[in-house]
């Protein structure tokens, strides 16, 4: 019984990385694991391809794995996905013209709030 439990535990804990049991160097495995956490599963949204069991997520994991094995860099792989699926595929979109608002609005909002707090005298002049 103990053995069965252990096996079940091993199987379930492997779900996110089924495709990673092929021969990879530690460095490659790390890169693979990192990328699949940062790429959005587009059909399940709010899950990374590393977390999702959707078919598309599996295909994307296989694709990423193959590219890691070919020796592609993190940027190569991300650009590959970006050129096909667009900014939305990465949880952390790159900093460029179309994403300025996205990246800078939090800073702007904080500055506005600070300014307002000063004005009403909550923080010192």
């Amino acid at each position: 019984m103990k053995k069965v439990c252990l096996i079940l535990l091993l199987i379930t804990s492997q779900v996110g990385s089924i495709e990673s049991n092929e021969a990879l160097t530690n460095q490659e495995r790390e890169l693979y694991q990192q990328i699949i956490q940062e790429v959005r599963c587009l059909v399940c949204q709010n899950q990374s391809v590393g977390e999702s069991n959707a078919d598309l997520a599996k295909d994307l994991r296989t694709e990423i794995l193959e590219q890691v094995q070919k020796g592609s860099s993190e940027d190569d792989i991300k650009n590959y996905l970006l050129s096909r699926y667009g900014d939305f595929v990465l949880y952390e979109p790159s900093f460029k013209k179309s994403t300025y608002v996205l990246w800078l609005s939090p800073v702007l909002i904080i500055l506005l709030i600070l300014g307002w707090l000063r004005k009403i005298g909550v923080i010192g002049k």
């Binding site: 059909v43 295909d59 970006l82 050129s83 096909r84 699926y85 939305f88 307002w116």
Partner: protein
């Protein structure tokens, strides 16, 4: 007023974010529009011949990604049949059968009719990834040089085809 303003801003922002949270984003813009379609070489359904992206150049065409497991594909099928038979629009539809079984695909086509001039099969979904496909059905409008001019996600129908595809097709043919 001064004290109420932040509360108004807060409520506004809250409403905006809540709306975005509960409304799934279904139409993610494709970076492929205006780009050449990705190179592919796929086997034709139920034959030994294969076709590449070069083989479909020279005419404006549609590439429709479908599967028998796809509910939306069922909904658009009648329209695809109608479109294929429309002499005045006269646009060939190339089917890519995505992550499907050949026998199921063939049965589907024999039962419901076949709107495609050719059906290619992509059982492992590699070409689909190159096309940035994430949910079937998806339809691409390809010009004579092989450039992707438009991409539609979800079932096609008379209304969205007339609104989104026809103006571009007319432009391309002018």
């Amino acid at each position: 007023m001064k004290r109420i303003l932040p509360i108004i801003i807060f409520i506004g922002l809250f409403a905006f974010l809540a709306k975005s949270l509960f409304q799934p984003q279904t139409n993610i813009p494709s970076p492929l529009i205006g780009q050449s379609m990705p190179a592919f070489s796929l086997g034709e359904l139920n034959t030994d011949t294969s076709l590449t992206d070069k083989d479909i150049l020279g005419t404006i065409s549609l590439i429709n990604v479908w599967a028998t497991w796809c509910v939306g594909c069922e909904r658009e099928h009648d329209f695809l049949i109608e479109l294929a038979g429309n002499q005045s629009i006269d646009i060939p539809i190339i089917g890519i059968n995505w992550k499907d079984r050949d026998d199921l695909a063939l049965r589907w086509l024999s039962q419901r009719g076949n709107p495609y001039i050719v059906v290619l099969s992509d059982p492992i979904g590699k070409t689909a990834i190159d096309f940035g496909v994430y949910g079937a059905p998806e339809t691409f409008l390809i010009d004579e040089q092989g450039v992707i001019r438009y991409k539609h996600i979800g079932p096609l129908n008379r209304e969205n085809f007339a609104r989104n595809f026809m103006p571009i097709i007319r432009d391309l043919r002018r």
